[in-house]
Symmetry: C2
Subunit: 438 residues, 2 copies
């Protein structure tokens, strides 16, 4: 087997660059009408028949032969045993990763997730109270591959936020993975079920006899899961709709080329639709990265996926300057953004849209994926233009606090009444006026 | 015309209370298949034909005869003239309200919307950078009624967040309302168009020749707007899907009954589906509120809407205690929650789910609606279980920052590699291992 990985070569000085880049970036998040119909039917069925429907779909799609949903519940003892049975190195790595992820999210809660209030001059109290969501559902993919690290990344911020009940769902065969069960135990999943797909999302959103109804569903999944999350949004909260994973590397040519090539691989190995892009002003360095790709590809166990992903969706782009590279990066709004530069803090302020920014040669994306601390659930497909990494804030909500004093009501009442009459809402105006002294 | 407003009387001590409450709360947010189809077609049409499609739908649905989309753009001069032409009292009220709303949202940004970072023991930098969304679209309803205050509540947090371009859309005839145009000028709308419905949402989400593509769409609208927002979610960010407005009043019997009755009216006058609920342990006080309702109803210009809303969806509920009233309030998770009590700070800590909490007899909801400072765009239909008032945070997004030192890479690389091999992602492991010293 001779594989080759040939990312598209582009240069910003060529005519037609913008169109060529747009074509390479294009990934349609459009929903498929067939999938939409199937998902709508599954959700309606789970709403009306509960456990029985979830059981039927699970047996059919995951090829199981369970006789009740209770059989599909994973017990705490089972998760704990999985944790205790891990080889020591794996258990320590998992504990270290969990500790770092927890510590980062505790800092995040402190920085932006605490209640606050103040009193203004007339004694009016204004503020915002921050409270955890009561019960959340965490969707963990488990069909094609098992991602224990995703269990940590979903459950730990929920736990740090103070969520009382964390319900995990993971389809067969992911639920057989010891590292995944160990992660669930370590991260504090309250209950766990071996169910997946739209039927699992519906069970969480509406509740069944066995699966408790949650207030929010987070975590990535396939097209059925994405469609189901979109459909139950409003009934419950959701985090985001995930697309294929992406990396964009800004390189000034000072990072070893094989490090950068391996970082592109680490994105590409996820799946054929994953996207890896290199932006660099130095053509010779780009050639060097391509040679490193050629040299290292045959050694990679997932070489086939990497080759397809890089060739069909990858790009090595020569820019006029690092400044121009930063501009293009803002247009791409990548999920993962590496600044492979000797002077990363020079470029970071120019970068407006990205899920996570990895500064300097030593910060490989994979360190962030597993254990640096920040979350690895990140906005994809340019949605970093308007959305954020999964965080403690996703498991909290805010309530405004207002306490108007008698004195304050005299001032505010006049303003409110004037505007309420202007909108034709007389009861609003009268409610304010009743509080005025006569 | 003899109208009567008879909210449902319930008591928590009666059998069947839970079911009766659930039935009264029931409001289906389910999407209508007919509306969904129409909206899907409109969006597809706007994507493919741009301006021409938006123009056609606008002329048809809003009964206009515009010949180009440029005709439907409202200029800055027009908005400024509207502001300057307001009666002095109205202009001052608007300015005062805007000033207070701005000041609150500035405090909000300071409390939870600033970038942060720290270095851990091995020199690794971890943090989060907070940046504004580049361009947002604000949907302002204008079909049945015009709400200038909603313009302030959407545009000011965007401005405080640092959003560079704020594009307002408001259907005819709302665009004729001087107070609304004045509010748009005061709150810093960059551009404004007289368009509405699904066609306006599609124009903002995908862009047309005339309407710029935005990154996020906020603001309430009718069922078509809600369906369109749900459908474009992912292509752009959205705030929330709004249902009918609600108030829940917790009363210990110390607030004048006519104040409470008028507060229930001020919710009910919005529309027939609005919901007003009173929870109180004192039966005599509940009777007093009903008498105040009977006495004041005939004076209200919107008496018909109020009577329908209170009779069909309102409830006066006698509870065993204030503690029980707080528990029920958490089940309702109301948009607006008034604590009409002499000791509101005793009850506030018991209240977990609410859009905004109004403490004490003087804090009528209408003060919060117009000018106290906090946002009046709030989660409805129990979504306060998982979502928050519109805020500065809705117009910002976060990027994780990670900078691992050479020393840090030696520690993190070992952990990441162990977990990556465990997940079968060898390129992830190799990328970490390449950074290890040999």
């Amino acid at each position: 087997m001779t594989l080759s990985a040939r990312p598209l070569r582009l240069s910003t000085t060529e005519g037609g660059f913008d169109a060529a880049l747009a074509a390479r970036l294009h990934w349609s998040a459009d929903t498929d009408a067939g999938i939409e119909k199937v998902v709508a039917d599954i959700i309606a069925d789970v709403r009306s028949r509960g456990d029985a429907a979830v059981l039927e779909y699970t047996n059919r799609f995951d090829r199981l032969a369970a006789t009740s949903l209770r059989e599909l519940e994973l017990g705490q003892a089972e998760m704990k045993a999985a944790f205790e049975g891990l080889p020591a190195r794996q258990r320590e790595a998992l504990e270290n990763a969990a500790r770092r992820v927890r510590s980062y999210h505790e800092a995040q809660k402190k920085a932006s997730g605490e209640s606050w209030s103040y009193r203004d001059a007339d004694g009016t109290l204004l503020g915002q109270k921050v409270t955890p969501v009561d019960r959340v559902g965490i969707y963990v993919p488990g069909g094609k591959a098992a991602y224990p690290s995703s269990v940590l990344m979903n459950a730990i911020p929920a736990q740090v936020a103070g969520v009382a009940e964390i319900i995990m769902v993971v389809p067969h065969p992911g639920a057989q993975n010891a590292l995944l069960l160990a992660a669930a135990w370590l991260a504090g999943a309250t209950r766990a079920f071996t169910i997946g797909g739209a039927q699992a999302v519906a069970a969480l959103a509406y509740g069944t006899e066995t699966v408790p109804r949650v207030d929010k569903v987070t975590g990535p999944g396939n097209a059925y899961v994405a469609s189901a999350k979109r459909r139950v949004f409003g009934q419950v909260g959701i985090d985001m709709i995930a697309g294929p994973s992406e990396i964009l590397v800004l390189a000034d040519g000072t990072t070893p080329a094989d490090w950068v090539a391996m970082d592109l691989f680490s994105q590409a190995e996820h799946d054929e639709l994953a996207q890896s892009i290199l932006l660099c002003p130095d053509a010779a360095y780009i050639d060097e990265v391509q040679r490193a790709i050629d040299r290292m590809l045959p050694e990679m166990p997932r070489a086939g996926i990497i080759a397809t992903s890089l060739t069909n969706r990858g790009a090595l782009i020569r820019t006029r300057s690092m400044e121009e590279a930063c501009e293009i990066s803002n247009r791409v709004a990548p999920e993962h953004l590496e600044i492979a530069s000797a002077d990363p803090h020079r470029w970071e302020p120019l970068l407006r849209h990205a899920g996570a920014i990895f500064l300097g040669a030593y910060t490989s994306e994979s360190l962030g994926d597993y254990c640096a601390g920040p979350n690895h659930v990140l906005p994809t497909s340019t949605t970093a233009r308007f959305s954020s990494p999964l965080g403690v804030y996703d498991f909290q909500k805010r309530s405004s606090l207002i306490e108007v004093s008698q004195a304050g009501a005299q001032v505010l009442g006049v303003i409110a009444a004037e505007l309420a009459y202007g909108e034709g809402l007389q009861a609003h105006a009268r409610a304010a006026e009743l509080r005025l002294k006569r």
